[in-house]
């Protein structure tokens, strides 16, 4: 049997030690009426060679994004970036990926130091004081941030920007459903594509726990973070900024400098492949004053008995294994390896690389937008500035256009009517460093024909 290390002789010796004469006897602890009498109805086991052929066959039924596959202009919370070769080689070291959560710091300094560094990188990019080790994904991280804002403020009302990723909003609602559904939505301006400050203000009522905005927002538009921060701070609520495309942070003013209280989002863009939507990398950063209300693992620096620098999990009194039903969150296993991958990607880029990457993304998106608008088949949907993603309005039926482009091997974007029934024939389109000028020109040409 695969993966089992006992020979028949070994089994015999073990049984003898335990004083049993068969493995059947060993299973005597299971009540007889609960035993499965026959076999499970599963496909027969496979040799490794057969398994690999099967898996290659399953993979071959898909049309992935990338060379020899589809040309993609999809973003919407999942971005197709080039992952440096260092990432898989280093995160693929088995001492990292076959370890558990670093409960025993003396033999886990590798994970601990790497994640401590990752926490720092997140702080540096966001200009916040403290970041946690990771959360599951951007959506659940945002839900956790909302719960945290409620704890910090002691208030219930939560205002979500209508330009926040719809699946993030749905996740928050699921999380809050059990507690209190005191959620309001702040409309976005249909002209600019950004959250209306007045709408947000109105939705907040008198005692908001928090206002949640996304920046760049779901439509790719840049929000006026400072103005929104001021609005919610005036009512003593917290501003939660969601970043689903953190590559933007190489260029944009960090949320921490724009008055944000909690930054959450998804760092998938760094070091984590598209992977059909997961695992991604939820992150959260906040101010020092809120750290004890923060969910998730935190790595801290300390010393060992000889006074040497060492790292360990800390502030665990916030957590489920100590605090149980009074914990800040139920999270246990998080997304450590994704964080490691992001850290390797970020350090491989370095300061100049991150900035350059950010600029390339900006340029690609603007070139793409210009080329698409030149076709006259589509029009700019919103007027706000953008980073690497934007929305267009088609003159034709979006579904038909998407289908025709798919025939040409192009994923042309996301049909926004899926989430916003009012936005019929609107496409959300992204460009990254992986979309070459030729790709973009081909897209524009095919669109003009579609």
């Amino acid at each position: 049997m695969p993966y089992v290390s006992l020979s028949d002789k070994d089994v015999e010796r073990i049984l003898k030690t335990i004083g049993l004469d068969s493995t059947e006897a060993l299973l005597g602890t299971l009540p007889d009426d609960l035993r499965i009498k026959d076999k499970l109805d599963l496909p027969d086991g496979l040799a490794e060679q057969e398994l690999m052929a099967l898996m290659q066959g399953m993979a071959a039924k898909n049309f992935p994004v990338g060379r020899g596959g589809l040309l993609s202009f999809l973003g919407a919370g999942a971005y197709n970036h080039y992952i440096p070769s260092t990432v898989a080689h280093l995160a693929g070291r088995s001492e990292f990926y076959t370890a558990y959560t670093p409960y025993q710091p003396e033999i886990s300094q590798g994970t601990l130091q790497a994640i401590f560094e990752y926490q720092t990188l997140v702080c540096q990019m966001t200009s916040m004081d403290v970041a946690n080790a990771s959360l599951y994904d951007g959506a659940s991280a945002t839900a956790e941030a909302v719960l945290m804002a409620r704890r910090v403020t002691g208030r219930g009302r939560v205002v979500l920007s209508g330009a926040l990723h719809p699946e993030y909003r749905r996740t928050i609602k699921t999380y809050l459903n059990a507690a209190s559904e005191d959620i309001a939505e702040a409309l976005f301006c249909t002209e600019a594509g950004t959250t209306l400050v007045e709408a947000a203000q109105a939705a907040m009522g008198d005692e908001p726990a928090c206002l949640v905005i996304q920046h760049p927002n779901f439509f790719g538009c840049l929000e006026d973070v400072s103005a929104l921060a001021e609005a919610v701070h005036r009512k003593k609520g917290l501003l939660i900024v969601v970043v689903t495309e953190p590559v933007s942070l190489g260029l944009l003013k960090p949320p921490g400098e724009a008055g944000c209280d909690i930054v959450v989002g998804d760092n998938q863009s760094f070091g984590n492949a598209l992977n059909f939507g997961g695992p991604y990398l939820g992150f959260m950063a906040t101010k020092t004053e809120f750290v004890r209300q923060m969910p998730g693992r935190l790595i801290g620096q300390t010393v060992d008995r000889n006074g040497s620098r060492a790292f360990c999990l800390t502030f665990s009194t916030r957590e489920q294994h100590i605090r149980r039903e009074r914990a800040t969150s139920n999270i246990c296993t998080n997304h450590g390896l994704c964080a490691l991958q992001a850290a390797i990607h970020l350090t491989s880029l370095g300061l100049s690389g991150l900035k350059a990457l950010s600029e390339v993304n900006l340029s690609k998106a603007h070139y793409l937008r210009q080329r698409l608008l030149e076709t006259k088949v589509c029009h700019a949907a919103f007027s706000a500035p953008l980073f690497n993603e934007f929305t267009v309005r088609l003159d034709k039926d979006a579904d038909a256009v998407l289908k025709r482009l798919l025939k040409k091997g192009i994923l042309a974007g996301l049909d926004l009517s899926r989430f916003y029934p009012a936005l019929t024939n609107h496409l959300l389109i992204a460009a990254t460093e992986l979309n070459s000028k030729d790709d973009i020109d081909r897209f524009a040409e095919e669109l003009s024909r579609a």
Binding site: Y3, I36, P43, L46, S94, Y97, T111, T302, C338
Partner: protein, 496 residues
């Protein structure tokens, strides 16, 4: 063969920020082949970083610096590939390499979650089939793959349970949880809006029907138990307990973290379980990643099915398609964006296909065999928490040792000197100085024997040379780490 460790040197390595030096470049991104867009021409200055902003000390290192940095860091870590990792409740079994290869196939990694269904039929089929396999293994009627980890699965299950009662027009507010439960159980219950009603396990480590009966009422939504429980014992009375709970209209939630002991041997459905989460990163061999990502699918019986998160995967003829909330009006909604931790599902799928029904059963049986071997071999030297044959893990207390001024923590740290990862310690809380050993089925008898011999030596040292334990570990890069200082004088990030 005795497992020992040898002296060896680790390369010292500073923080990556301390390696940084102005102007050094790493893997520069691809230069743009389109006209450069000047940010300031379309973006208000106030929205942009200041020119010359160095992001608070963001690293500037070369590619080789990066490679050496993480290579060295990795060497300070201990993983399953390094050695025996009997961390109870965590099922640290071998993570098959072939699963890693499968998960890295570009036909999987390159899929965007929003690409059209026609272009990702292989992925949808895999998810569909994995749901079916988990149904078959657990006996549940339906499974969602969306939750990201065990705790996320618990939360998802509890949301569904809350929704179920709400939907019936009779919301319930309490969850009964045994004192042996994992911390995530009460934490998830609280997060889902429930009040936790603790219940004591009996002197035999098991939940008694009487104890359940005494607290079960019509405001109790569910009893949340773990089976085999966290003491490694099978809850023999689970059927009767389920009957009691069901009689009062309540549900049974089973924390499925310990499924490794029962897969192929017993089905949760037969025990009366209504809802269970699977920890793919335990039972189904996906690696733990030094703290995730995992995957925590949830299985439910028919009556909870309408509440599963969206989207659902459906097979229509030969095509696989996603069903959304419009067609699933009772759904609790979403636990996260997209569909769950797909690449972890790929690994679990590969594992199930490699083993098949017989392999799964054999794995469970061997896990039980190995745990009982350890239990038997160590019971003279360490006090058994409960004197009944165990399932997949054996729990001891520190009673025999505490008299020598030696704690469970000391025993754990001393094991490191012998080249073993310590077991889970101080959990479950009901056992004094708990030492929870889960060997898993993938370990060889030679390894078990070496571990047993180390544990026996430590028991002897505890009597004669307790200092050896208290000063342990003695051969690691850092000696015992001051966790108190970390919490008292928090340093949670590097600063320039």
């Amino acid at each position: 063969m005795k497992q020992t460790t040898d002296k060896g040197f680790f390369m010292d390595e500073p923080l990556i920020f301390e390696r940084s030096s102005v102007g050094k470049k790493g893997v520069e991104p691809c230069p743009s082949d389109v006209p450069n867009h000047d940010a300031a021409s379309t973006i208000p200055k106030a929205f942009l970083r200041d020119a010359g902003d160095v992001l608070n000390g963001f690293p500037e290192v070369s590619e080789l610096d990066v490679v050496r940095h993480y290579t060295r860091l990795s060497q300070w870590n201990f993983g399953v590939d390094t050695g025996f990792y009997p961390l109870g409740s965590c099922t640290m079994k071998y993570n098959p390499k072939v699963n890693e290869d499968a998960a890295r196939l570009s036909g999987f990694t390159g899929l965007h979650p929003y690409q059209s269904e026609a272009t990702c039929q292989g992925a949808l089929e895999l998810m569909h089939d994995l749901e079916a396999y988990l149904c078959e293994i657990s006996g549940m009627d339906a499974v969602t793959l969306q939750p990201s980890a065990g705790a996320h699965g618990e939360l998802c299950g509890l949301f569904m349970i809350a929704a179920y009662f709400k939907d019936k027009g009779a919301p319930r507010h309490k969850i009964i949880i045994p004192d042996t439960a994992h911390g995530t159980n009460p934490a998830s219950s609280a997060l889902a809006g429930f009040k936790v009603v603790p219940i004591k396990s009996g002197a035999n480590g098991l939940l008694s029907p009487e104890a359940v009966k005494a607290v079960m009422d019509t405001d109790t939504a569910a009893l949340m138990l773990t089976n085999p429980n966290t003491i490694g014992l099978f809850e023999r009375d689970i059927k009767e307990i389920a009957r009691i709970v069901h009689t009062k209209g309540g549900l049974i939630y089973c924390d499925g973290a310990n499924m490794n002991a029962v897969m192929g041997l017993a089905r949760l459905s037969d025990m009366g379980v209504d809802c269970v989460q699977f920890n793919l990163h335990k039972t189904f061999s996906t690696p733990h990643g030094g703290g995730g990502p995992g995957s925590g699918p949830v299985g439910v019986v028919k009556k909870l099915e309408p509440f599963l998160p969206v989207p659902r995967i459906r097979k229509k003829g030969k095509r696989f398609t996603l069903v959304n909330e419009i067609d699933r009006p009772k759904s609790i909604g979403r636990m996260k964006a997209f569909y769950g931790n797909f690449s972890i599902m790929v690994r679990a799928y590969a594992y199930i296909r490699r083993l098949g029904a017989e392999g799964l059963r054999h794995a469970a049986t061997t896990a039980i065999l190995n745990a009982n071997y350890i239990r038997e071999a160590l019971k003279a030297d360490y006090q058994l928490a409960y004197d009944t044959p165990c399932m997949h893990e054996a729990v001891f207390s520190d009673k025999f040792q505490s008299g020598f001024g030696v704690s469970t923590m000391d025993i754990a740290k001393r094991l490191i000197d012998y080249g073993f990862h310590p077991p889970t310690v101080y959990f479950p809380l009901v056992v004094h100085g708990a030492i929870m050993i889960e060997p898993t089925e993938t370990e060889s008898l030679e390894t078990l024997d070496a571990f047993i011999s180390a544990m026996r030596s430590i028991a002897a040292e505890a009597k004669t040379e307790p200092e050896l334990l208290k000063n342990a570990p003695s051969n690691t890069r850092v000696s015992r780490v001051d966790e108190t200082k970390a919490a008292r004088e928090p340093v949670l990030r590097w600063r320039p």
